[in-house]
């Protein structure tokens, strides 16, 4: 039972462009929304996270936008670089610290 829907499945962006990945959640009890980055052959690593009391969080080139009323949040990667090529997962968690992950977006940044 999918509780976090992520799109697109794959994304190709030119170097210097903006990458945008979207997620929608169903459970209004979710109160923590992290994004994980995964390189081939590695485990996921936390990239950036947001709580629902703010609408936006920025860390360097990475920004999360959060829309509580629409139950959606998105990851924006500004000035995308080839080194950003990876798979990105959104996730949500409420009580008991159990993360529910989206299905992932494979990002390729071309030269």
């Amino acid at each position: 039972q999918q509780q976090v829907k992520q799109s697109p499945q794959s994304l190709i962006v030119q170097k210097g462009g903006i990458s945008i990945i979207n997620c929608a959640y169903e459970n209004t009890a979710f109160d923590y929304f992290p994004w994980y980055q995964q390189f081939p052959g590695k485990g996921p690593a936390l990239l950036i996270a947001i709580r629902p009391d703010v609408s936006e969080k920025k860390e360097g080139r990475f920004t999360i936008s959060f829309n509580k009323s629409a139950k959606q949040f998105s990851l924006h990667i500004m000035d995308s670089q080839p080194g950003d090529s990876a798979t990105y997962f959104c996730a949500s968690t409420g009580t008991a610290s159990k993360l529910t992950f989206g299905t992932g977006t494979r990002l390729q940044v071309t030269l």
Binding site: Q6, D31, Y32, P34, G41, K42, G43, P44, A45, L46, A49, R51, F89, T93, T95, A96, S97, K98, L99, T100, F101, G102, T103, G104
Partner: protein
């Protein structure tokens, strides 16, 4: 990988055999998790532990059991492996419950023939 090791890193086994995967941490984190990663499904929680001998089921726990006799070790056992359990398995740890970062291990690639 935040002081998390998984063993073995790769394993090929046959249908019907028991398999045990090990997760070892040196961070003394209380919470430990087992996930499986499959194309089109992202990461799905199998079991988790919130302390020594305290475990609970996740989203896809059927066919799996876990044990945690020490803070640093969390074992995942496939009681009788099936081809549908071919996957990449990740262990994760977290210092506290709630909105806290989970650190992932390097993964174990399991193939069940």
């Amino acid at each position: 990988d935040a002081g998390i090791t998984q063993s073995p890193r790769h394993k090929v086994t046959e249908t019907g055999t028991p398999v045990t995967l090990r997760c070892h941490q040196t961070e003394n984190h209380r919470y430990m998790y087992w996930y499986r990663q499959d194309p089109g499904h992202g990461l799905r929680l199998i079991h988790y532990s919130y302390g020594v001998k305290d475990t609970d089921k996740g989203e896809v726990s059927d066919g799996y059991s876990v044990s945690r006799s020490k803070t640093e070790d969390f074992l995942l056992t496939l009681e009788s492996a099936t081809s549908s359990q071919t996957s990449v398995y990740f262990c994760a740890i977290s210092l506290t419950s709630g909105n806290n970062e989970q650190f992932f291990g390097p993964g174990t690639r399991l193939t069940v023939l």
